[in-house]
């Protein structure tokens, strides 16, 4: 259920992120960081707005006071995505007449002066990165359930507001969305004498006398206030990120495996906090090499937002959302594309110096008692004359031969002793160590399917379909020999046989006949949207099914049963109605 609501909530974020990279293409004024110490102001005092562009664009309604605090705006901090959502709403529903260029400058400025600190943004990066995950907000279950009825809880956690501002946000919701007070939105229920109220009174639990939205408000006001020590610290320390230079890329795309390469980041002299990139990377599984250039802008000193293209005439079909670590040595995030942002690469960029840098390997598991296992080691500035003894993989693992060597890849053969200790291994080479780069294992004890909870959307007629890519990964039970314990070892992807089975949520369930097809590579392609006259009840092709992977481990007895694992797949309707669009509130 949470996954379904998250998916629904992610609708608008797609639009929002889609527009963000455009910011990078426009000229803008320098960022206007908050004056030092403003975030230390007392609760509800507000953060002044010092950027004249923002004052000019927003001041008609949000009148500044003598301390340059603008109504509403000064009493809120948010991510770039949420500021953009607000600016879009102002333009579409409140008839704000500003050019796209000004809108982008406003978003940039407010994200810098009224943004989130890295510590505040890090837990919710999944939202901007458009990850479809089963996230549960541990702060308050009821708040999570209430907000997730319509959108991702990540959007809520992307906000910091004063008490009045949280109330104002809820009032806006109630003004625009009919039914939000009732059963659809769940903000309010019944009235005096309700069952919940009476039950609450009976238990002496005074909080149960509150309406659901009032309970959520109480939580949000306390948990996500405007001032924070994190913002106080970051708003003082925030600076223009100096990112120009060469970076080593390592990444992973589910279904396609690891990627390695390099990216060169250059400053854009015409735009502050803006960059261009020139990258090249290779999929180790297929050898496919991709060249990609991008433009990006950094918000709040650490939030990378970009759009990249594979070819000169490509307007930018991949988007980049990443988090810049405070030491400016590492950038982590997700590059993604697709009508629902469903295709993505988890990317890590590490700053390159003159020294060797190991970024990873093509396979992540080495089996004991196996000689001459081929291993490719990726990195930058790798020694071209490396000897086997220069490469250290730990006890029981010996590099017997260096097959080839180049600055960005070494190919070696490895002998793993029968008594090699099972576990996670580092790679050390030329003074560079990549921790936990691979594992040593003795037997593959099972497989797992990821994601464990997948979601696809019907489409293909008038609405775009959302595919779902599954992957089977082997695992070893680890030194304790027990599956499902922390020492289990991930052995990486395996080439499994795929099938769908009915998830019998109801008697005589027949979803598997209608939902779509699972390809040999684990890619699920949903059926078309709309009523199906061939299905009882004229129903859509929606449903939920098991995705089953079957894999005979290498070297296993032919007669032995293959390893099997499964995951749940929900195939749901297209996003017919975008709850973030301005038309909804008109």
């Amino acid at each position: 259920m949470r996954l379904r609501t998250l998916g629904r909530g992610l609708v608008g974020i797609a639009l929002l992120i889609g527009a963000l990279p455009l910011v990078a293409a426009q000229s803008q004024t320098p960022a206007a960081p908050a004056p030092p110490g403003t975030a230390t102001a007392a609760v509800d005092e507000g953060i002044p707005v010092t950027d004249p562009d923002v004052v000019k664009a927003c001041g008609g309604c949000h009148v500044p006071d003598d301390k340059r605090r603008m109504t509403r705006i000064s009493y809120r901090r948010a991510t770039p995505e949420n500021w953009e959502l607000t600016v879009r709403r102002m333009m579409s529903l409140n008839n704000v007449q500003i050019s796209p260029e000004v809108a982008r400058r406003v978003i940039k400025s407010l994200s810098d002066s009224h943004g989130l600190a890295p510590e505040e943004a890090r837990p919710i990066m999944f939202d901007a990165e458009r990850r479809l995950i089963d996230f549960t907000y541990s702060g308050d279950k009821e708040t999570h359930e209430l907000c997730s009825r319509c959108h991702s809880i990540g959007r809520v956690l992307s906000e910091r507001r004063t008490k009045d501002e949280w109330n104002g946000l809820i009032a806006m919701h109630r003004y625009y969305y009919p039914g939000i007070d009732g059963a659809s939105g769940g903000f309010r229920r019944g009235g005096p004498g309700s069952q919940a109220n009476a039950a609450g009174r009976g238990r002496g639990d005074s909080t149960d006398n509150q309406q659901p939205i009032d309970k959520a408000l109480t939580h949000l006001i306390g948990a996500l206030p405007l001032p924070s020590s994190e913002w106080t610290s970051w708003s003082a320390a925030m600076r223009t990120p100096r990112l120009a230079g060469r970076w080593a890329l390592s990444g992973y795309q589910i279904g396609k495996g690891p990627v390695y390469g390099t990216v060169t980041i250059a400053d854009r002299p015409d735009l502050p906090d803006s960059f261009t990139t020139d990258g090249r990377f290779t999929y180790t599984k297929t050898g496919q090499t991709v060249t990609r250039r991008s433009r990006a802008i950094v918000y709040t000193g650490f939030q990378w937002r970009g759009r990249s293209a594979d070819a000169p005439d490509d307007p930018g079909t991949w988007r980049e959302v990443a988090f810049i670590e405070r030491n400016l040595q590492e950038i982590k995030g997700r590059w993604f594309t697709g009508p629902h942002d469903e295709t993505g690469i988890d990317v890590t960029l590490r700053r390159v110096s003159n020294d060797p840098l190991v970024t990873g390997t093509d396979v992540i598991a080495l089996r004991t008692s196996a000689p001459a296992q081929r291993l490719r080691i990726y990195g930058v500035n790798l020694p071209e004359r490396a000897a086997p003894t220069d490469i250290d993989l730990g006890q029981g693992v010996k590099v017997s031969r260096v097959v080839s060597a180049a600055p960005e890849m070494l190919t070696v053969e490895v002998d793993v002793a029968a008594d090699a200790r099972v576990g996670v291994r580092d790679i050390s080479l030329g003074g560079s160590t990549r921790p936990a780069a691979l594992v040593v294992y003795s037997t593959m004890d099972g497989i797992k399917v990821v994601p464990q909870a997948g979601m696809a959307r019907l489409g293909g007629v008038t609405m775009p379909a959302r595919t779902e890519q599954f992957e089977a990964r082997g695992f070893s039970s680890g030194p304790d020999g027990k599956p499902g314990t922390p020492d289990d070892l991930d052995l990486g992807p395996v080439d499994a046989q795929w099938s769908l089975e009915e998830y019998t949520a109801t008697f005589k369930d027949d979803d598997v006949k209608y939902v779509g097809e699972l390809g040999p590579g684990g890619l699920f392609t949903p059926n078309v949207e709309g009523p199906n006259p061939n299905r009882p009840g004229n129903r859509n092709n929606v449903g939920d099914v098991w995705v089953v992977a079957s894999y005979p481990p290498a070297g296993a007895n032919v007669a032995a049963k293959p390893l099997r694992a499964r995951a749940h797949l929900l195939v749901t309707v297209p996003i017919y109605l975008d709850w973030n669009s301005r038309e909804v509130g008109r």
């Binding site: 309604c61 109504t71 009032a171 003004y175 007070d181 005096p192 109801t506």
Partner: protein
Amino acid sequence: MTRRIVGTLFMLMAVAVVTGTTALGQRSATPLNGGNGTLYIGGYPNLIWIIDEATEKVVGTLQTTSGIPRRLTLSRDLKRFYNIDATNEFVEILDIASKKTLDSFKLTEGNRRVRIATLEPDPEHRYLMMITRVSTKLRDRVEIGPSELQQYDLATHRITRTVPWPDGEERDQANLLFSPDGKLLYVLGDEIVIFETQGFTQVDKWNLSNVEEGLGQVSVSFGGFGGLDTVNDEPGFLTTAMTVEDPVQHRRMMGVARINLVKKEFDFYTIGPAGGVNFVLAPDRKRGYGLESAIGRYQFWTFDLEQRRIVSRAEFEGRPRMSLKTSSNGRLLYIYNAGNTIDLYDAATYKYLRTITLDGDVTTGFYVVPRQTAPVKATAGR
């Protein structure tokens, strides 16, 4: 084994007695249909389908002019629909005979948005009672006003009265219902508040958390998705389902509640463990039917309201998001809601019969109106 067979036979006989048929299907020679009434159900886009119950064909539509119908209220004399649209801002009054819109209005003006949660026309079509809420959009913020119980004069198109809430505590959602003579207004929610309709002063309040000492919290269902539908009820009465959780064992039981709208009496009895069953009254008022709908568990229930017991329960191949109605002759069960189909089941055997397919998705409750043999008096009950 013998005991089980005897029990089964007894059950079949009980079904036969209650439904007026036998398990062997004496009526199988005649086509099983729902009667000669008329079915009304609103849908997308902007219409109410009129279905002849005998032929199960769409024979006409009422076109709404104010948008997608969402909450339909059938007037006491069965002549008009009062519709609240999907935005909760427009009210439209449609004459069923002429298929014309008689009147429409909205209270929203400029930056002042008025949403109407529920309404009920008085038996004489002179005014409406409504629960409304005002939201006002200011330059940089929105202000949400309180929920209000208001009287709207249909002749002058004005709000003529705002009725103070009992104890000053606003109610968000409640069904409204007049007594047949229009002298009492019932506000049916988590409690039941009764007003006289001269000055709209409160004359009674039934606190359902304290109906009887030792009984526990009572929760009464007032219509679910479709809102109130009292077409089948005896004039002046409202029969519906209730649940109660006893305060000692904390077990939830279901039962039937019956409200005498004129005498202001609330009668009830429990009938078995609570099972999340939606209740509808059969036309003969001797039976009720229940629909239990949870993922993987779809059941029809039959209640014997005279003997105050459950006659039978049976699982069937349901569908997501179902609602239930009985046909005008009580022989069919209609399953509707969420989609563009109405499935027909034999009320005696729960056997699926066939499906009525509409041209668009259903958006409102479903009315089954028996053929009228005589003009319905405006003051008659439903």
